[in-house]
Structures are given as C-alpha cells and as structure tokens.
C-alpha cells in the first residue's frame, strides 16, 4: 500500500512537470500579453521595456520556462504581469471559497443522487423511475449558466411581485460580518442558489449511474442467494445490495471533480462569488498569463491529489482491489 502511494506520488510529480511544460508553452506561444499595453497612449516605450525586462519576455521560451518554473517553486508563482501583485495569497483566498462551494454541492449531490438512484432501481419502470429518468435527462441538457440565470430571474420576479427577498442573487461580500451562528447562517443563505445550480448536473449523472449499478447488483447471484436464505427483503437491499452498489460511485466522483471545478467557473461568474472561477475569468479578461498559469497548475495539483485519495479509498472499499 505504502509503496503504491509513493509510486503514484512520483508519477504525479512527473505528470505535473509535463503539465507545466505544456501549459507554459501553450500560453506563451499563443499570444502577446503586452499587446494591449503597446497600444496604450501616453505610455513610454521605457515602461513597456521595463515589464519585458522584469518578466524576461525577450528570451527564448525554454529560458522563460526556466525562470517561470523557478519562480513557481521558490517564490510562490511570483507576481502578476503588471501590478506586481503576489499571486498565491489571492489564490489561497479564493480557493477556500470555491472548495466550500464545491464540497457542499458535491456532498448534497451524492446524498440526493443515492436516494433517487436506489429508489429508481428498487421500483424499476415505475412512475417514479420514469420521472427521475426524464428529470435527469433534462438536468444533463440544461446549461449551468442558464439555470443560474433563470433562478435569478425567478427570485427577482418574486421580489417585484411580493417584496420578499428570498435569496440573495449575487456576491458573498454582503455576508453579515458578525461572528458565530449569524455568520454561518447568512453565508449558507448566500450559498443556496450557487450550490443548487452546481448540484444539478452531478445529481443527474450520479443518479443514473447509481440506478444502473444498483440494478446490476440486485440481479447478481449473491443477492439471489441472500433471498433464497430467506432474509427479509429490506435486509437484502440495504445490507447486501446497497453497499456494493455504491463502490463504483467513488470512481465517478473522483473523475468528475475537474468537471465540477469547470462548473464553478460558470457559477461563480454568474453569482459573482469571490472564488477560483471568477479569479480565473478575471485573469483571462486582463490578458495576464501569470495568474492563468498559476491557476492551471494549482488546479491540476488539486485534481491529482483528489484522484489519488479516491484511488486509495477505493482500495479500502473494494477488497478485490489489490495494489501491487
């Protein structure tokens, strides 16, 4: 087990280095970050030259990669292109918000999806099953950003009709700065809509998956044996089938972590939450390659670590898996 983890970690380092080369080359060859600056009126050539010197933009790409990689490792990804603002402190701040959003959404999504999926499987081809299927197809066909906007439209309409502000439609900044339970409740209130929107696609796909895996287990030989022994049906489904049906979900959750972060980009932009997604979009709008590359590398690290945790968890849950 330990040797497996160590080997995976080493492989992860190699993947990260390869990713960093790819990311850097990709971002560097594809555009001139100073294009905007060069055409800004009343800006002396000297100022532009200063930026070029500071960021070594005149050097060939491998040299620039070396400078950048050194900065990333020893100097916390360095600073932004123009403002000289350190990148990592900002990233840490927004990461906390995003992880909170993503984890709440993911945990709720898993709980709800397990409920829906198992009920569908136990009552295959019932009205509930067909409804769940239809709704999950709808959920998978709905653009995340549009769902977010429609909820905002709804909340605004309700406000205009009745004068009730049921949920805040934007920003975490207006959260009650008070401490203790007030803060938690107010923050939760602000997070309701974003979490709801982020959950939908996950619930839709997980519930289909759990339904299929539950059906497979219910049709397997050992479940038939359990029934033949005369066990009560509730015990068969909950003890024998349910627990085994959940194991494949772990892999799915691991794989969709990246998709979820992608969803967070959209959700945070629509709800203007101060998270990683909004940070990324703003960096792109500013045409600043340094925060963009830092973001990509931090995200890649997060996804790799998360997948490693998932694989280890899988080994505990499924005794058939052996790490050689």
């Amino acid at each position: 087990m330990l040797s497996y983890v160590v080997r995976r970690l080493l492989y992860s380092v190699v993947v990260l280095v390869a990713a960093s080369v790819l990311v850097f080359t990709f971002v560097s060859v594809s555009g001139d970050p100073l294009a905007q600056l060069r055409i800004t009126p009343n800006l002396s050539q000297q100022s532009v030259q200063n930026v070029i010197d500071r960021k070594h933009l005149d050097d060939p790409i491998p040299v620039r990669y070396w400078y950048w990689a050194k900065d990333a490792v020893t100097n916390e990804f360095g600073t932004t292109l123009l403002g000289d603002r350190p990148i990592l402190p900002d990233l840490w701040r927004v990461m906390k918000n995003t992880l909170q959003l993503v984890f709440i959404a993911e945990i709720l999504a898993i709980l709800i999806a397990v409920g829906i999926g198992v009920s569908s499987a136990l009552r295959q081809y019932s009205v509930f099953d067909y409804t769940a299927t239809t709704v999950s197809f709808l959920g998978l066909a709905t653009p995340v950003f549009w769902l977010a906007l429609m909820l905002q439209v709804l909340v605004v309409q309700i406000y205009e009709q009745t004068g009730h502000r049921i949920f805040p439609v934007a920003s975490l900044n207006s959260v009650d700065p008070g401490s203790g339970i007030h803060f938690v409740l107010d923050r939760a209130h602000h997070l309701v809509l974003p979490v709801l929107v982020l959950m939908v696609a996950s619930v839709a796909s997980y519930s289909r998956y759990i339904r299929a895996s539950m059906l497979e287990v219910l049709n397997s030989d050992y479940v038939r044996t359990a029934r033949a022994k005369g066990l009560p049906e509730s015990r068969v489904t909950m003890k024998h089938a349910f627990r085994n049906a959940l194991v494949p979900l772990v892999t799915l959750v691991g794989l969709s972590f990246g998709t979820l972060l992608g969803g967070a980009i959209v959700v945070e932009t629509v709800f203007s939450l101060d998270g990683m997604g909004l940070y990324f979009v703003n960096a792109l709008l500013a045409n600043d390659p340094y925060p963009v590359m830092a973001w990509l590398m931090v995200t890649a690290t997060m996804i790799i670590v998360f997948n490693l945790l998932v694989d280890i968890a899988y080994g505990y849950l499924d005794p058939r898996v052996r790490y050689e």
Binding site: V23, T142, P143
Partner: protein, 318 residues
Amino acid sequence: MSDRVPPATDGLAAGADLSGPSLAYESGMEVQARSQWAYVRMRFFRHRLAVASLVVLVLIALVGVFAPQLAPYGYDEIDLENTTRSPTLDGWHLFGTDQLGRDYLSRVIFGIRTSLWVAVFVALVSTAIGTAVGAVAGYYSGPVDNLLMRLTDLVLTVPGLAVLLTASVFFGSGDPLKIGLILAILFWTAVARIVRGLFLSLREKEFVEAAKAAGASDLRIIVRHMLPNCVGPIIVNTTLVVAAAILVEAALSFLGFGIQPPNAALGKLISDGQSEGFELWWLVTFPGLVIVIIALCVNFVGDGLRDAFDPTQRRIRA
C-alpha cells in the same frame, strides 16, 4: 457500406425450413434478407422517443439552414418603435424584443444556425481525429498507445472548460470556425479512448488473424475489417459530442470568450439578454430553452442509437 455486410439470416425462417414441409416459401411468402443496417434502422424506429426527437432536431436544423429566409426580421435590425416588448403575436415578436427593438425570435433563429453548425463541425472533426489516433494506438499498441494514454491523462488533470477558455483568449476568438477547432481539440481524446479500447479487443479476433494470414496490409485490416465493427459506438459517441459541444460552446460564448458579433450564437444572446436586466426575462429565457431542447433531443437520439446498435443491451441506461 450496407451491401458489404453479410445479410443476417432470419432465424425463424431458417428454423421453419427444417421443421417440415408446411411453411414459409410453400405458402408463397418470401423471406426477406435484411442487412445489419436494416436491423439497426428497425430497432431505432421502434424507439418512439428517439424518433420524435430526431424529427424535432431535423426541424430545428432546417430552421437554422433557412434562417435568412425564415427569420421575420434581420439579426441586427433595430426598431426603436418596438423596444422591450414582451412576447407577443403582434408583429411576430414571439420571443419579445430588447432595448434596441431587435426581434429575439429572429436573433434566436440566426443563433441556432451558428451554434448547430459549430456543434456538428466539432463532432465531425473530433470523431475523425479521435478515430484515426485511437485506431493507430489500439492496433499497434506500443509507443503510440503509450503516448496517447499519457496525453489523455494530462488532459484529465485540468478542467476542460479552463483549457478552452485559455485557448480562446490566447488564440483569439470570435470566429465560429476557430471556436469549433478549439472545441475539437478538447473532444477528440474521448473518441480516441473509445476506439482504442475497441481495437484492443478486436485485434485478438480470428477474422483479423485470417486477414493477416491472407496478406492484407495493416491499412486494409484497419479500414476494411476493424473499423466497420466500431461504427456503432463511434456514431453514438459522435451524437453525444454534438450535445456536449452545444452546451460548452454556449458557456464559452456566454462568458464572452466564444463566438462574438457579428456572428450570432445562442450563448451570446443569453449574456446580451442578461445585461439588459432581469425585467426583460424573455431575452434570457428563450435562447436558453432552445439550447435545452436541442441538447435534450440530441441525447435522446444518441440513446436510441445506442440501443439500436447493440442488440444485446439490457434495458438499463446508465
């Protein structure tokens, strides 16, 4: 292609043939030989939801193709006497108008044209690239295969949307063709993985061995013997890419990194509508509804195709 697949014998008729003198051809009935494609078609048309979705899709596609003829107004036609109208039959403003009096029904129709074109383009290009790479990787194994798998490992370490956003910013965007190419770069790896998996198992089959023994070249074995056996999964996946591409392109255009004016796109229409305030709810609602309908129909068609291509499939849809 259909004439190359050996006709499947009708099992019932063959059995009847043996069992006695009374049946089939004696009573003047003829046993119809059906190709595999006929079976696929039959099974697909039995899937009512899929057929209905296909009809809706074809209609939407026709609307897109004939957009200039069908749209009651121009895409950018400003009408300052009819601003911010909610949906009404009057003047055919079924989807309402915005603050400049632009008719949103017409804008949506032009948006369908671009968005659908991009989605189909992405599906075709990514399928072509993915099939070629997957086939080579699966057939030869070895270094090509290794490189492909490591590459998809890399792609999986970063959220796809982030890669697309970065690409469209730094490569410059706005043009549907460019956006299509950028999307195809993301989507081909999925196809490649599927084709590779199929090829790895097909490679061990006897008919491939027989073809090799008969002296067929690698290219011939891949194209004539192995690829026809992968057509089903490839077509199903192509359909699903269309749905995914519609959604991703909409998200990109909505965020402002996708298709830009003067090209219409459904996602861009939604962000335009959003910027005019939530009182004009119809500007946000209708373009989004059209996206949902397209994506939903494409998924249903894909589902129907999956069942149609796979006679062994149990009725469990994952």
